[in-house]
């Protein structure tokens, strides 16, 4: 709230929900379309693997995997990728970001890797993910699937599959909620009500 200078209020409630972008059904529909596009673009699913970026990308990749199994009767190998140790802001954050697990389904060399993330924003997360992938092997190609593209790129990076493009201002935050972690499937736009800019996810 304007003029609300209390420190506790600022740290406890940094973001206020402003608008809903995707509901549960919308999210499912959008992911189904992305699944179809992945099959189309790769002319099938041969040598395709899904890599979800920690943390919400992992759950979205799992949904895509289920959908591909239903539609194509193919179990696409999938894994999870943590990019924390590749971040470019590690020495300027006030606290060290928590590391999550990385596990890749076998050798990724020669595979078609589809990176899955929830929100594409500055592009810095994807840059870090590309570096991480390079250290794990040499895929034939890497594609990017995101649920929401909110703009404001700081690097020359574009997605191959976009669920929804949402114009935002930098003072807003796009929050993707998945039921496994957040109890519901929904995408909302939040607005800052206090606190500092640190902690905004790229």
């Amino acid at each position: 709230m304007e003029g609300d200078g209390e420190v506790t209020a600022q740290t406890e409630q940094k973001w206020a929900e402003k608008a809903s972008v995707l509901g549960k059904e919308d999210m499912e529909r959008v992911l189904r379309r992305i699944a179809v596009e992945i099959v189309e673009r790769n002319k099938g699913l041969e040598r395709v693997i899904l890599l979800g970026i920690q943390r919400r990308g992992v759950y979205l990749a799992a949904r895509l995997r289920e959908m591909l199994k239903e539609a194509e009767k193919v179990k696409v190998p999938s894994g999870e990728l943590d990019i924390t140790l590749y971040r470019d802001d590690i020495s300027v954050l006030s606290d060290q970001p928590v590391v999550h697990s990385t596990s890749v389904p076998g050798d990724i060399t020669g595979k078609k890797v589809v990176l899955v993330d929830d929100v594409l924003f500055t592009g810095r997360t994807v840059r870090a993910a590309l570096d991480a992938i390079t250290d794990l092997g040499r895929p034939e190609r890497v594609q990017l699937a995101v649920l929401v593209d909110r703009g404001h790129r700081e690097l020359p990076i574009a997605a191959d599959y976009v669920g929804k493009t949402v114009p935002t201002s930098r003072s807003e935050n796009v929050e993707v909620r998945v039921k496994e972690l957040d109890g519901e499937d929904r995408v909302v736009i939040c607005e800052r009500t206090g606190g500092t800019e640190s902690g905004v996810e790229a």
Binding site: S91, D95, P97, V99, D135, L136, G137
Partner: protein
């Protein structure tokens, strides 16, 4: 969790939650060691000084590997051939390290309290205790804890026997602290001449008979026995020590079916541990070495990051 520790001098101030979080982070660090390219850029541009005023092979090497996997620059500053042997005071050494813009100082010293002194004097660098006198060796305790948790799962209520020269062992002191914090029941055993006087105040039991300590234990921890102890008259003979307190197959057979055998290394085979046990199915001694690298990676990562 917000990490609030800049240094590691002792585990005394670490909460159980912090230990648990630390071990979780270590797990993800260990995964990096399985990769074809074992390097991530997380600590690019950081300088880690390994200052060992006492001999060490695995601790020094594992701090070095840990730093290098995370892309820090690691410099080894050993006591022989350094200015320490030319009579430089510790205070001058500190100022030298500061002037060289070290981000972390890993220190092992024969005197108790040197890491603590460095941590108080150094304004910028993190300080990590790699062993000070008979006082403590906290990163050894962390890697022991990590290895035990990896093999046994939740350690709450587990039974541990620490057997050997507890009196002179900084490993024992740090391990007692760490394992008790995680809810492990610790019993000591060894010759009475090699026990500290205050076992009760450490929160642990003592039995002279190693078989009694090993009975039903989930973790059997054997300490390194220095041969000089015999010359000092603290143990009767090497043979007798081995028979009564050494890790033999018959002693290990008394432990719980899932028990693991640990040793901080380097081992004296035939003294505190029989080869059949050291190389046997219960031994996790090489896992400990591997854990040592992962634990030190987590430590460097968590304590060196950010703008503190």
């Amino acid at each position: 969790m917000e990490w609030r520790h800049k240094n590691l001098i002792t585990l005394e101030g670490w909460t159980r939650e912090e230990l648990g979080f630390f071990l979780d982070q270590t797990e993800y660090m260990e995964e990096l060691l399985n990769r074809p390219i074992k390097k991530v850029p997380a600590l690019r541009g950081k300088i880690v000084m390994n200052c060992f005023f006492e001999n060490s092979t695995r601790t020094r090497a594992s701090f070095e590997i840990a730093g290098k996997v995370l892309s820090a620059d690691v410099i080894n500053w050993s006591s022989s051939g350094s200015s320490a042997s030319k009579g430089e005071t510790l205070r001058d050494t500190v100022w030298t390290l500061e002037a060289m813009a070290a981000d972390a100082v890993v220190v092992r010293h024969g005197e108790v309290g040197v890491p603590d002194y460095l941590a108080k004097k150094l304004t910028k660098a993190s300080v990590f205790n790699a062993g000070d006198g008979t006082n403590g060796h906290p990163t050894q305790a962390l890697l022991d804890l990590y290895t035990a948790r990896q093999k046994l799962g939740n350690l709450e209520g587990a039974k541990m026997a620490i057997i050997g020269d507890v009196l002179h062992s900084r490993v024992a002191r740090s391990d007692i602290q760490a394992f008790r914090k995680m809810g492990v029941h610790v019993t000591l055993s060894g010759p009475a001449t090699l026990m500290p006087e205050n076992t009760a105040s450490l929160g642990v039991g003592y039995v002279s008979d190693a078989r009694e300590a090993a009975e039903g234990a989930d973790i059997l921890y054997f300490l390194r026995m220095q041969r000089e102890r015999q010359e000092d008259g603290l143990i009767p003979s090497i043979d007798e020590y081995h028979r009564r307190w050494g890790a033999t197959d018959s002693l290990v057979s008394l432990a719980s079916p899932r028990a693991v055998v640990m040793h901080p290394g380097p081992m004296n085979r035939g003294m505190e541990i029989a080869s059949s046990v050291a190389d046997g199915p219960r031994s996790v001694i090489l896992d400990q070495v591997r854990s040592g690298v992962a634990v030190r990676m987590a430590l460097l990562y968590l304590c060196l990051g950010g703008v503190r």
